[in-house]
């Protein structure tokens, strides 16, 4: 264990999907690596599926405002139609994600060149391809080779079974002649690297008691720690400090007892996700950086992308066994992923078919929508609803807009007095046109699959753990926060390694891509150790 006055080689802030990948990669260098994580380990026995209240545990809610664990910080999302979710602890968002694991497409990295919208990334799919593959090997990804919508990939585990629900909706896609394919999922469908095979528990989004879902607390971290990385939990970083030369000196953090320390480091890597990373930089203002650390461009916190989304639900006459199996991993459709200008918008979306809800979530959702009445009609309505619904979520590419942003919220604070954040986000015109298209297409699929009714599509109030773009990478210091390999333009030993770097959002869940990017950043650091700060 490092001493408080020891200068470590690398300080990583955040033990989530990106921080774990960076630590795991950099351990090859034999440098002294320390990771500070504001949350704690989650024990498998704590996950809700161990108990009869498995559908309604607020301490495993995705919303920090409902969860209110000591490690959480408040997020004011009142000015956003999309509601950000996260998890603060070892594993970060992978603790509660659905493990839906698509990669960005090659076209996602050059939207300006191809479609005249967004911006081009300074790197390409080809740059990341080996890191996608390396990440897949550690996480363990189930899927079926041969998807004509995506570049080929190797090493997939057997796919997650579609179940009655998935097969039903797949027939709808076939009837329309539209693309579908079993979702690629970070789920061990067979025993994999010490993890047990998926038991089809269902609610992956409240954690996996079996350990089949690839959360990084059970994939990357055990090996990284065995090989020498120190991971210090319940340590909340308040501020990144600078030395007299304008280089990062280290970080001030509160330990488990609330005692403040400064941990010094030669290199600081921030991996706190698309909301936590700008929060920390904005809270690290100084005389040199009065508007937040590494923020001479003014872009820290801006260009927030959350994905625009629709949720369309169809009801079927027969049971679908839909709540049995990984809820977020059934099948996807990329029929409308790539740009087709005849549709009236640029870029596109993935349709993801979710499995059904358990009895509690079915009842709560029905009551919220007014579809489940009080009184004598309640039971009949519940029977007609439970296990008979299929949901299509369209995950659409929202374009970067500087007015969509994360700022510090002076009205709220976490358990150590550090400001919470305010999210300001509006759906752009392109997003609104895309959402209208997606809702219509989802309705058509459900009807083609035999739904007896399809509820009106929702486009607001949907949760998203896909915060991206708030410290974008690029070659122009006036138009980006970091260079093409994650080093801040303003502070040459300060790196960012998470989805904050994204230049555009793609139309898929970001975890696979952000981890590949984290491995790429780590690899760039390793290749440049002799002149890293030049």
């Amino acid at each position: 264990m490092s001493r408080a006055d020891e200068i470590v080689d690398v300080l990583i802030i955040g033990a989530g999907a990106a921080g774990a990948a960076v630590a795991h990669s950099l351990v090859d260098t034999r440098m002294k690596i320390l990771c500070l994580e504001q949350g704690d380990w989650v024990r498998p026995s704590d996950y809700p599926t161990n108990g009869r209240d498995w559908e309604s545990r607020p301490d495993f809610s995705g919303s920090p405002n409902l969860r209110r664990r000591p490690a959480d910080y408040p997020i004011d999302d009142s000015a956003s139609p999309i509601k950000p979710v996260n998890f603060n602890g070892v594993g970060g968002g992978t603790i509660l994600y659905m493990a839906h694991f698509p990669r960005f497409h090659p076209s996602d990295f050059c939207t300006r060149t191809l479609d005249g919208v967004g911006d081009d990334w300074p790197i390409s799919y080809q740059n990341l391809e080996p890191f996608f593959a390396a990440n897949d090997r550690v996480m363990g990804v189930a899927g079926l080779p041969g998807d004509p919508a995506c570049p080929p990939k190797d090493g997939l585990l057997p796919p997650v079974p579609l179940g009655t629900l998935g097969e039903t909706v797949a027939r709808g896609f076939n009837a329309l002649g539209w693309h579908w394919w079993p979702s690629e999922s970070a789920i061990a469908t067979v025993p994999y690297h010490g993890r047990g095979a998926c038991l089809n528990l269902g609610p992956c989004a409240s954690g996996c008691a079996q350990g089949a879902k690839a959360s990084v607390d059970i994939t990357y971290w055990p090996e990284a720690i065995r090989r020498g990385v120190e991971l210090r939990t319940r340590c909340r970083v308040r501020e990144i400090t600078l030395d007299e030369r304008g280089m990062a000196r280290g970080a001030v953090y509160f330990d488990d007892a609330g005692i403040e320390h400064e941990q010094r480091a030669h290199v600081v890597i921030v991996a706190c996700n698309g909301i936590g990373t700008p929060r920390l930089l904005l809270n690290s203002s100084s005389g040199r950086f009065p508007n937040g650390l590494a923020n001479s461009s003014g872009l820290v916190g801006r260009n927030l992308m959350l994905h625009c989304m629709t949720l369309t639900q169809g009801t079927f006459e027969r049971p679908l066994s839909g709540w049995q199996g990984p809820i977020g991993c059934s099948l996807w459709s990329k029929e409308f992923y790539e740009t087709d200008v005849s549709r009236g918008y640029a870029r596109g979306y993935t349709m993801e078919i979710l499995r059904g809800s358990g009895p509690v979530a079915t009842a709560q959702g029905g009551l919220m929508r007014g579809a489940l009445p009080w009184g004598q009609g309640h039971h009949a309505a519940f029977r007609a609803m439970f296990d008979r619904t299929a949901t299509i979520v369209a995950v659409g590419e929202d374009l970067p807009e500087e007015t969509n942003r994360v700022t510090l919220d002076p009205n709220t604070s976490d358990s150590h007095g550090m400001p919470g954040v305010k999210v300001q986000y509006r759906l752009g015109d392109n997003s609104l046109r895309m959402l209208a298209h997606a809702g219509q297409r989802a309705t058509e699929v459900l009807q083609a699959a035999g739904a007896v009714s399809v509820a009106p599509t929702l486009t607001e109030g949907i949760s998203s753990g896909h915060a991206m773009g708030t410290t974008r990478m690029g070659v122009d210091p006036e138009r980006s926060v970091t260079n093409a390999w994650g080093r801040c333009h303003d502070v040459r030993n300060l790196f960012i390694a998470d989805s904050s770097l994204f230049v555009t959002a793609g139309g898929v869940n970001p975890t696979s891509t952000l981890q590949a990017l984290a491995l790429y950043v780590a690899d760039q650091i390793k290749m440049r150790l002799d002149n890293l700060f030049d």
Binding site: D53, G166, W180, Q324, T362, Q376
Partner: protein, 161 residues
């Protein structure tokens, strides 16, 4: 007729954040929301209400405010306590409350649904296994991948810049 007694329910809960009259009113509301039917218990069942009261305890301020509003409105509009109103009048008052204090009803419905639909008797009545998913899990039938044949025949259509 409501399937609940108009006398205070005999709750075994230890939560003391609600008075006896408040507990009774909550049970009346729960029974109104989910009445008994065949083998299905009412949500006003003692065991279910015990859990409802415990979970609502963390939102006691909002709940107490909602209950006060119900009691006051019932007295003002009908000169009768809410539990003694006929079902039609109770439902009308709930509809009014939904407009005037949606937060209370949202919390109440969420908690009652959670406690009711995890009750072993309710789950068994719907043909479901009681208890948590772990460790037994579920069996999902193997997939008929011939469904993919039309898609397999397509040429790659992702763009290569």
């Amino acid at each position: 007729m409501l399937p609940v007694s108009n006398s205070p329910t005999h709750l075994i809960g230890t939560d003391r954040r609600f008075g006896e009259a408040q507990q009774h009113l909550l049970a009346v509301l729960a029974g109104l929301m989910i009445p008994a039917e065949a083998e299905l218990p009412s949500a006003a069942d003692d065991a279910i209400m015990n859990e409802v009261l415990q979970e609502l305890g963390s939102r006691a301020t909002v709940v107490a405010r909602g209950l006060d509003r119900i009691a006051r409105t019932s007295a003002e509009t009908h000169a009768t306590p809410f539990p003694d109103l006929d079902t039609t009048s109770q439902m009308a008052l709930i509809a009014r409350l939904r407009r005037e204090d949606p937060e209370f009803l949202r919390i109440f419905e969420t908690v009652v649904a959670a406690c009711y639909y995890r009750d072993d008797r309710v789950l068994r009545s719907h043909g479901l296994a009681a208890g948590p998913p772990f460790p037994d899990g579920h069996t999902v039938a193997p997939t008929d991948w011939t469904l993919l044949e039309p898609v397999r025949q397509r040429k790659p259509f992702f763009r290569i810049p």
